[in-house]
Point group: C2
Chain length 149, copies 2
DNA sequence: TTCAGCATGTCAGGAGACTGACATGTTGGA
DNA sequence: TCCAACATGTCAGTCTCCTGACATGCTGAA
């Protein structure tokens, strides 16, 4: 029989889940005054860095399904934070862009989130920070490599 | 105005979310043959390591609310994987324990999850692994320290 | 040219988790 | 002693996200 996970305090997976949960909770708290959920902020952030992407591309960047992104976009569009092309210039993909109000909201939200990230990593020097980022990326790669269809 | 998050590929928060998502997806896939969700497995794992805890304590260990844990426990109890005391020996807390079937299922699931974790960290030596675990724990501590009510 | 395969947008239904609320049992201070 | 504060269990409602399904538009191979 294979060995189990072992003591939770020594499990990498548990530590990862714990850190992600703590970050998400802190972001939710920090973004609440702006009336933004974490998913909505993520949507704006990706959109700000990649203007004109389709909803499906956006969904992959935010780690949700395109169906969920659809609902998310409807809400943000109604609030006037983004606008979607009425017709598809090519294929079925409808390019999406931030409005001026969307860019302003994003700037504020991004500053808040940057503050949360800084608070989380205040004890890290730049080398340690880059090392942690690289380690996390290595985990993602290792899991996606062996992913079976 | 404060600086924003910056390029997503350089954001620690984004990398953390990505890693946690990848791990969760891999665990879901690996546990599906056993008919267990990640939350159900987490519940069994914590229960295996801390027999007799209350549902509320269990909820904190699994990072869900006690209301969600309540529903989770009902399902696992019906499947005969755990049993709850009918009356509270002290206060209102009802001690919960794994049954023999629960321990068997946990052993199998824990082996599977350990395999996923190993796959994720196959490129890490034991020092790098411990360093990553410590870094993640430091992130959690930094966020919980400044947590306001 | 034709069509099978694929990506996208959208609608409908369901599962899981959360917030709100209330009852119950314990604990520590006035 | 008495009660306010707290923790726990539980019920109800809601929200978010997911899976399933279908229509539409491009693409590459036969």
């Amino acid at each position: 029989m294979t060995q189990g996970v072992g003591d939770l305090d020594r499990s990498i997976g548990y530590a990862l889940k714990q850190a992600a949960t703590a970050l998400r909770t802190a972001m939710e708290t920090a973004l609440r005054p702006l009336g933004l959920t974490v998913s909505q902020y993520s949507c704006l952030e990706v959109l700000g860095q990649r203007p004109g992407v389709s909803a499906s591309e956006l969904a992959r960047g935010v780690f949700v399904t395109r169906q969920s992104m659809h609902a998310l976009l409807l809400g943000l569009e109604e609030r006037g934070l983004l606008e979607r092309a009425a017709a598809a210039p090519h294929g079925r993909a409808l390019p999406t862009q931030l409005t001026a109000a969307g860019r302003a909201t994003l700037a504020e939200a991004s500053g808040i989130v940057a503050g949360v990230e800084r608070r989380m990593t205040v004890a890290f020097d730049s080398a340690a920070l880059e090392r942690l980022r690289a380690d996390l990326a290595a985990c993602v790669n290792a899991l996606s490599d062996h992913a079976e269809p």
